[in-house]
Each structure stands twice: as C-alpha cells, then as structure tokens.
Amino acid sequence: MIASVVLSTGLALMLVGFWGVVTHRNILRIIISLSLIGTGSHILIVAIGFVRGGTAPIIDRALPIAEAPLRAVDPIPSALVVTAIVIGLAVTAVLLAYAIRLYDTKRTLSINSFTESKW
C-alpha cells in the first residue's frame, strides 16, 4: 500500500515534469521541469525498494541483526538514489551554466529565440 502511494507520487511528479518540458518556453522553467522528472524518478526507485513491513536497513536496537534480512527494506535502490541525487545536482548545475551563457548571447531566456539548431 505505502509503496503504491509513493510510486504513484513519483510517477505523477514525473508527469508534471514532462508537461513542463513540452509546454514551457522559458529555459529556467524547462530546467525546473527536468529537475522534477529527476526527483520523481528518485521517489519511484525508492518506492520499488520497499518491502512489506520493512524498515530502514540500519542495524540498531529497533532492528536486531538476526531480524535484519526479514524486516529491512531493499538497500540497493537507496544506495543508487544517493548516487543519482548527486548526479542530478551536477546535471542541473551544468544546465544552469548553459542557461547563463545563452542569456549572455541573446539577452533572453525564451527558447523560441534559439532557432539555430532547430531542424
């Protein structure tokens, strides 16, 4: 149940991002939409790792070592998402840098003015 709710949230966030990418003309808004797609997919990956009745895979008083294989959620998606968040940040930084350069050349952030590479 929880996994389905979180999974749907992630997918919905990705849809909002797709909608933003295809409808908005402002480059900054497109970058925000791309971040939304990234965040949605992170939520999706974490949701896939959920195991029914599971808790965080950290061994302590709440999760004794003997019960860990039965009650922990899948740690691999969590580890992958930590990686993905950092890479998403790096990608956003590069996108913003390009946005600044594009603004420098045309003094506008509307994607309609950048027609050189349009086919």
Binding site: S4, T23, V51, R52, A72, A79, V82, V94
Partner: protein
C-alpha cells in the same frame, strides 16, 4: 495545435505510468542480492548502516566514479561560465556589492556554526546511522551558500577549496590502493580492524572513506556554487 500535441504526449506517458502503478505489487521479501547485502555488511564489514556499506565498500568504485562525475560538472561549469562575452556578470556586478539584510546576516552567524557541526556529525556517523559523506558534504555546501548570501562581496578561497578537494580525492584512491595491498581488493575496507560493532571507530576504513568523501563533496559543491556567483 502544439498544445494539443503536448497534451497527447503527456497523456500517453500518463497511460504508461498508470499501467505501471496499477500493476505494481509490493515486494514481500528481499531479493537474494539485497538479502546477501543486508547479511554481509554488518557481518563482514561491521557497519550497521547497510546503505553506507554498499556505497563505500561493495560499490565504492561506483562512488569514486561518481565523485569524478561531480568534479567534471564543476570543471564544466567553470569552463562554460568563463571567458569573454559575460554581459551577465557586469549586470550583477553592482548588486554584488550591496550588503544582505540584517536578518540574513544575523541568522547566518547563528546557523553556519550549527550547520558545520551537524555536517561533521552526519559525516562521522555515516556508518552507524543514517547519513554519510554525500549528505554531510551537501550540508557543508549549504553553509557556504548561506555565507555567500550573507556576505555577497566577500570572496571565498577557491584555491584552498580546490587543493583540499584534490588531496581528499588522492587520499580516497590511496585508501583504495591500501585495500588492494593489504586486503587483496581495490577499495576493500577490511585492511583496518573492524572493531566493536556500532561504535565510532569501527567498520574498517568505511569512516575514513566517508570523511574523505564528505570533504571532497563539500569542497566541490562550494566551488560549484561560487562559480555561479562570480
């Protein structure tokens, strides 16, 4: 016309996603690989936090590649933003000198030390509880960003940050080579004693890697944020 087309694309995606969401059923038990990780990390590596164990031992090579990607992003942003034709920088040049408001400056004075301590805590306890190098490094970078907002005119020492970051990166690789020499595999953390389970000095070289990763990510992200300011 274009709006209808966009709506059609998004609706098609929505249909695919809906079929995924409806057809999905929760996992009832761990998959074999995950189960072996959950058993192996506390048992062999002595780290209570399984996610940290995966990130810094079993898949530490991926982590190394990932900090390289982050470094590439910092270099890329520097290259893109440098050079002639920066009309944008002259625009904000005057504003950069104007001081931040009293509220921002005062709260920065209070928050930056607390954030630094919290970041150190998160990094050092990465193998025991939730946290780790990436998360702590991000908090360090947030503190740097707050400092930049509070003191827009004050430059930060980018050269120092770059050198610290490089040293942390080199030490990370050297720890990996030490694993190769003393434990038989690259980035094997078991060449240091495993120690008592759940204490600060335990889990072999995982805390060492965590600290190096935290320093590296913190410096890298701070440099990245500073690139956008200048």
């Amino acid at each position: 016309m274009q709006r209808i087309l966009s709506a059609a694309v998004v609706i098609l995606f929505a249909m695919i996603f809906a079929s995924i969401a409806i057809g999905y059923s929760e996992q009832q038990a761990l998959r074999p690989l995950a189960e072996s990780y959950v058993k192996l990390v506390p048992h062999d590596l002595g780290a209570p936090n399984v996610v940290s164990g995966i990130l810094l031992a079993f898949r530490a090579f991926d982590t190394l590649g990932e900090v390289t990607a982050l470094f590439m992003a910092a270099v890329g942003v520097g290259m893109v933003l440098r050079g002639p034709g920066r009309a944008f920088s002259s625009d904000v040049g005057d504003e950069a000198g104007s001081p931040a408001s009293e509220i921002v400056r005062t709260s920065a004075q209070i928050l930056i030390p607390i954030m630094s301590i919290f970041a150190a805590y998160i990094i050092l306890n990465g193998h025991i509880s939730a946290g780790g190098g990436f998360q702590g490094g991000a908090i360090i970078a947030s503190a740097t960003l707050l400092f930049m907002l509070a003191r827009p005119a004050r430059p930060i020492n980018v050269a120092f940050l770059s050198i610290t970051e490089s040293i942390a990166g080199v030490l990370f690789v050297l720890v990996g080579v030490a694993g190769l020499v003393f434990a038989g595999r690259f980035l094997d953390t078991r060449f240091l004693p495993v120690g008592e389970f759940g204490t600060l000095f335990s889990a072999g070289a995982i805390p060492v890697l965590s600290v190096l990763l935290g320093v590296k990510v913190g410096c890298e992200l701070s440099v990245l944020v500073d690139r956008f300011r200048s």
